[in-house]
C-alpha cells in the first residue's frame, strides 16, 4: 500500500468517525434539551405555549449540533489535511506523508521510493484509532447519560412535554416514599365458596370475582397474598347489607405467612363485602341464591269434583321435586261437615313419606269414602305439604293445590252439581267437540282444492260424528235427571244447559249433513261454549247461578233516619320508588367513569348489589358491565342500556305539540 492509499484509508475512517460522533452528539443534545425542559416543568410548571416549543427546540438543537459537527469535520474531506493530521500525531514521519500526498514539485523516482519507505516504516493505525474511539465514546456516553436522565423523569411530566395538551395538569414531584408504591394486596384475590352441608354440593373457587353468588349459609372465604409486604393489621374486611340501614360488621382477617384470608357466611339478603388495605379498598357483592321450596303436583285427583254419594275409593297421587333435596312430605285431608252456623272440621294425615335428600319423590294414598261416614253436603279438602332439608334459612315448605271434593246435597235444588262420572263425560265431550270444530275448519280451508262431491262426503261424515257426540251428551243428561239413591228426579240447571248444548249439536248435525259447514260451525262453537260452562259450573258449585235481587234504589234513596258525620279524607303517602333512587345512583356512577374510574367501579358494584333486590331486570347488565370494567373495556354502552331500562321509558315523538306542556 503506497502513501496516498494509506491517507485515503485514513480519510475514510475519519469521515465515518465524524459522522458517528455527530449523530450521537446531536441525539445527546436533543435528549438533553428534553431533560432540561422536563426538569424545569417539574420545578415550575411550564405554560402550554412553552411546552409546545420544547420538541421543536430539541429538534433544532440536535440539528444545530449535527451541523456544527459536520462543519468542524469538513477538513477530513481533504487528503492533504488528513496527511497533516497524521503527521501531527506521528512526528517520525517527518512530513514524508504530506510530501508524498501533495508534493510541491513532482518527485523523482528515487525520492518517491525514499518517501514510501519512510512512510512504510511507521505504523499509523494507533495514531488514528485512539482519537477516533475517544471522540465516539465521549458522545455515546453523553447520549447514555441524557437517556438515563430522561428515564428518570416522571411519566406524567414527560407526557406534558411530549404531548402538550391543555388538559395535562402539572404533577407535583412525587415524594421519595412514593418511588416504590405500596403494593395492593387486594388484587388478585380468590374466593372459596363452601355450600352449606345440607345442599350436598362441592366447594368451588372463584378467581378475582366482583360478585359471589351462593346459597345462603355458604361459607365464603376470601384469600389474598402479600400479607408479609406491609403491616398485617392494615388489612381489614367488613360486611354490610346492600340495602343499607345497618352498620357494617367487621370480619377477622387471618394471616398465615404471606397469605391472608377473611371468611363470612352468605347472608339471606344481598350484601357488600368491603376489603381494605391501607389506602386501597375493594368491594365484592355477596349475592344469595335462594333455595327454592319444594314444588308439588297433585296428579290425582286432577280437579275438584262433586260426588253423588260417598262411595268408592279416591286415589291420591302426588309428585314432588326440589332444587337441592327433599326431607319429607304429607298428604293432608280436611273433612268439614255441618250447616247453617255450625260446622265441624277434622284434619287427618292420609299419607306420609320421608326422602333422604332426593330431588324428586312420589307419594300415593287412597281414601275409602264408604268408611268415612260422610253425609250429603260434606266437603273434603285434599292437599299435600313437603319440606326440603334446608337447615339454614328453612326448611322450605311447598304446598300443592287443594282439591275440593263435595258430597252432593239433594236438598239444594238450585245446585248445578253433577256426578264425578258425568263430569268426566262432559270433559270428554268438550275434547270431542273441539276436535270436530277443528276438522270442520280444516275442511273449509281445503274446500277450494276439493271436488264438490268429496267436500260433501267429508261434511256428511262430520255430521255423523257430531250426531254420535250428541247422543253421549243426551246420556249425561239422562244420568243427571234420574239420580238414584238420593231421591232426586227432574231437571237440574246443569241438565238444562246440557240440553241447550245438545240442541246446538243437533242444528250443527243438520247443517253438516247438507254441507253447510260455515253455518254448522256457528252451532258447534255455541255447543262448545255451553259444555265449558257446565265444566266451570261443576268446579265452582253454584257458580254464578245465584240469583240476585235488585234493590229499588230510588224508593229508598236518602230515607235513612240516623244522623251521620262524614269524616275527612286522609292524604295518601307517596310510595317509595327504589328504581328511581337506583337511577340517580347509576347516573352518578356514569358521571364518574372518566374522572374517577375506581370510584365509578365501586359505585356500580353498590348499585348492582341494590339492584339484586330492587331491580332484577338490570342486574345482569350491571354485572356484565362491572366484569368488563375490570377487564379494562369500555362499559359506557352497557351502563346507558341499564339506565334506559331504569328510566322505563323515554318518551319521544317526532313532532312538536301545538300545546305547550302536554306530556
Amino acid at each position: 500500500m503506497n502513501a496516498v492509499a494509506r491517507v485515503r484509508r485514513a480519510r475514510r475512517v475519519l469521515l465515518c468517525a465524524i459522522a458517528a460522533s455527530a449523530i450521537l452528539g446531536a441525539a445527546a443534545v436533543g435528549v438533553g434539551v428534553l431533560v432540561l425542559a422536563s426538569a424545569a416543568d417539574l420545578l415550575v410548571p411550564l405554560p402550554l405555549g412553552a411546552r409546545r416549543l420544547v420538541l421543536p427546540a430539541a429538534a433544532a438543537a440536535a440539528a444545530a449540533s449535527l451541523l456544527v459537527a459536520g462543519w468542524r469535520g469538513r477538513n477530513a474531506w481533504s487528503l492533504g489535511r488528513v496527511a497533516l493530521y497524521l503527521e501531527e500525531r506521528l512526528p517520525q514521519l517527518r512530513f514524508a506523508l504530506a510530501t508524498a500526498v501533495e508534493p510541491a514539485v513532482p518527485p523523482t523516482d528515487a525520492a518517491r521510493e525514499a518517501l514510501e519507505r519512510a512512510v512504510a516504516n511507521v505504523d499509523a493505525r494507533g495514531a488514528l484509532l485512539r482519537p477516533v474511539a475517544r471522540a465516539i465514546a465521549v458522545r455515546a456516553a453523553a447520549l447514555a447519560a441524557a437517556l438515563l436522565a430522561l428515564a428518570a423523569v416522571p411519566a406524567g411530566t414527560l407526557a406534558r412535554i411530549l404531548d402538550p395538551r391543555p388538559e395535562n395538569v402539572p404533577l407535583p414531584p412525587e415524594p421519595a416514599a412514593a418511588v416504590e408504591p405500596a403494593p395492593n394486596r387486594l388484587a388478585p384475590i380468590s374466593v372459596r365458596v363452601e355450600p352449606p352441608r345440607y345442599a350436598g354440593r362441592e366447594p368451588f373457587v372463584l378467581e378475582d370475582p366482583a360478585t359471589v353468588a351462593a346459597l345462603p349459609g355458604s361459607r365464603v372465604e376470601v384469600r389474598g397474598r402479600g400479607a408479609s409486604r406491609g403491616a398485617a393489621d392494615s388489612l381489614g374486611a367488613s360486611v354490610a347489607p346492600a340495602s343499607g340501614g345497618r352498620q357494617p360488621r367487621d370480619l377477622a382477617v387471618r394471616v398465615d405467612g404471606d397469605a391472608w384470608s377473611a371468611a363470612v357466611v352468605m347472608p339471606p339478603e344481598p350484601a357488600i363485602l368491603r376489603l381494605r388495605d391501607r389506602a386501597h379498598d375493594r368491594l365484592v357483592v355477596l349475592e344469595p341464591v335462594p333455595d327454592e321450596p319444594p314444588i308439588l303436583s297433585l296428579l290425582s285427583p286432577i280437579r275438584d269434583s262433586t260426588f253423588a254419594e260417598p262411595k268408592g275409593k279416591l286415589d291420591i297421587d302426588l309428585q314432588i321435586q326440589d332444587d337441592l333435596g327433599l326431607a319429607r312430605a304429607e298428604i293432608e285431608l280436611l273433612y268439614t261437615s255441618g250447616g247453617g252456623e255450625r260446622f265441624e272440621t277434622k284434619r287427618m294425615i292420609v299419607g306420609r313419606a320421608s326422602f333422604d335428600g332426593t330431588r324428586t319423590g312420589r307419594l300415593r294414598a287412597a281414601i275409602v269414602l264408604d268408611t268415612m261416614g260422610l253425609r250429603p253436603g260434606d266437603v273434603l279438602h285434599i292437599r299435600a305439604v313437603a319440606w326440603d332439608r334446608n337447615d339454614v334459612t328453612g326448611p322450605g315448605q311447598g304446598e300443592s293445590e287443594t282439591r275440593t271434593i263435595r258430597i252432593r246435597d239433594p236438598r239444594d235444588l238450585s245446585d248445578v252439581r253433577i256426578t264425578a262420572a258425568a263430569a268426566a263425560a262432559v270433559d270428554t265431550s268438550i275434547i270431542s267437540q273441539r276436535m270436530l270444530i277443528m276438522r270442520a275448519e280444516t275442511l273449509l280451508v281445503q274446500k277450494p282444492q276439493l271436488e264438490a262431491e268429496e267436500y260433501t262426503r267429508r261434511s256428511v261424515r262430520l255430521s255423523a260424528q257430531q250426531g254420535a257426540l250428541r247422543q253421549r251428551v243426551l246420556s249425561i243428561i239422562n244420568e243427571l235427571e234420574n239420580v238414584e239413591g238420593v231421591g232426586f228426579v227432574g231437571h237440574t240447571p246443569s241438565s238444562l244447559v246440557l240440553r241447550e248444548a245438545a240442541e246446538e249439536m243437533r242444528a250443527a248435525e243438520q247443517e253438516l249433513s247438507i254441507a253447510q259447514v260455515p253455518v254448522a260451525l256457528v252451532h258447534m262453537r255455541k255447543a262448545l261454549a255451553l259444555l265449558e260452562k257446565i265444566r266451570d259450573a261443576n268446579r265452582y258449585w253454584l257458580r254464578g247461578l245465584l240469583t240476585t235481587t235488585p234493590v229499588e234504589i230510588e224508593r229508598v234513596r236518602l230515607t235513612g233516619r240516623d244522623r251521620a258525620n262524614v269524616g275527612p279524607r286522609d292524604p295518601r303517602e307517596r310510595p317509595e320508588d327504589p328504581r328511581r333512587e337506583l337511577l340517580q345512583r347509576l347516573n352518578r356512577a356514569i358521571a364518574l367513569l372518566e374522572s374517577d374510574p375506581r370510584a365509578a367501579g365501586d359505585s356500580l358494584q353498590l348499585v348492582f348489589a341494590a339492584s339484586l333486590t330492587e331491580a332484577r331486570d338490570i342486574s345482569e347488565t350491571l354485572g356484565q358491565a362491572i366484569e368488563a370494567m375490570q377487564r379494562g373495556e369500555d362499559v359506557r354502552a352497557a351502563l346507558i342500556a341499564a339506565r334506559r331500562r331504569l328510566e322505563r321509558k323515554v318518551g319521544h315523538e317526532g313532532t312538536l305539540s301545538s300545546w305547550f306542556g302536554m306530556p
Binding site: D304, L334, T336, G338, E341, F343, T345, V379, H381, R383, E401, T402, T404, R539, Y540, W541, L542, R543, G544, L546, T548, T549, P550, V551, E552, I553, V556, R557, L558, T559, G560, R561, D562, A564, N565, V566, G567, P568, R569, D570, R572, E573
Partner: protein
C-alpha cells in the same frame, strides 16, 4: 256515563263463597238510604281468578269452610290489591278457632304479609257514621254463637294507615244476610249495616 258502585262477591274454588247471598242487597240498600252514591241496584258474583275481577274494585269474600286459594286466585287477588282494589273478608263462622279463620288468615298473610289490628280510632270508624268504640257488636256475638267472644277490633293489611284488605271476625255476613221486607224492624237490619256504609265510603275515598 260512569259506572256506578257495584258490590261484588268473590267466587273462589274451595269453600262456600255463596254462604251469605243476601248481603249485597242489604249493603246496597243501606248505602242508598244514606248516601247519594251512584249504585248498581244488584250485586255481582265474580270469580276471583278471572280478569273480570278488576272491573269491581270492591270485593267481598265470606264463607264457613276452609279456604285454599289456587295459584291463579292468589296472583289475581294480589294484583287486585296492588292496583287499588279493596278486599273485605268476613268470617261467616264468627270463630277464631274455626277453619275459615285459620285458613283465610293464612292465605291473606301468605299473599300480603302480616294482618294487623286496626285501631278503633281509625278513619274507617269516622268515614260516615261515628263508631267511637270501633266496630259495632253484632247480634251473633251477643247471642254467644261461634267462639262466644265479642271481637272488639277488625284486622287489616295496612299500607301505613291505609287499609287495603279488611278482615272481620264479626260475622257481618250473618248479620246482613236477612231478607229485605217492607215492614221489618229497622233496628234489625239498619243499625248493624251502618258500618257497611263506613266500609264502602272508606274504600272509595282511601
Amino acid at each position: 256515563m260512569s259506572k256506578p258502585f257495584t258490590f261484588a262477591t268473590g267466587i273462589y274454588a274451595s269453600g262456600d263463597w255463596e254462604s251469605a247471598s243476601l248481603v249485597p242487597q242489604n249493603v246496597i240498600d243501606v248505602l242508598a238510604k244514606y248516601t247519594s252514591l251512584e249504585l248498581n241496584p244488584e250485586g255481582v258474583n265474580v270469580r276471583i281468578d278471572s280478569p273480570e275481577l278488576f272491573e269491581y274494585p270492591f270485593l267481598f269474600i265470606t264463607g264457613h269452610l276452609p279456604v285454599f286459594f289456587t295459584p291463579r286466585e292468589r296472583a289475581n287477588l294480589k294484583e287486585y290489591v296492588r292496583r287499588g282494589g279493596f278486599l273485605f273478608v268476613d268470617d261467616h263462622n264468627h270463630d277464631i278457632d274455626g277453619v275459615f279463620h285459620k285458613t283465610m288468615t293464612a292465605e291473606l298473610e301468605r299473599m300480603f304479609g302480616k294482618l294487623k289490628k286496626i285501631p278503633n280510632d281509625h278513619r274507617l270508624y269516622r268515614a260516615f257514621f261515628e263508631f267511637p268504640d270501633g266496630p259495632p257488636t253484632t247480634s251473633h256475638e251477643l247471642n254467644g254463637w261461634g267462639d262466644n267472644l265479642v271481637h272488639d277490633y277488625l284486622m287489616g293489611i295496612m299500607d301505613g294507615d291505609r287499609i287495603d284488605v279488611l278482615y272481620s271476625n264479626k260475622d257481618y255476613s250473618s248479620e246482613w244476610h236477612v231478607k229485605l221486607t217492607e215492614n221489618r224492624d229497622r233496628r234489625e237490619v239498619d243499625d248493624p249495616a251502618k258500618i257497611a256504609v263506613n266500609i264502602v265510603v272508606y274504600a272509595l275515598t282511601r
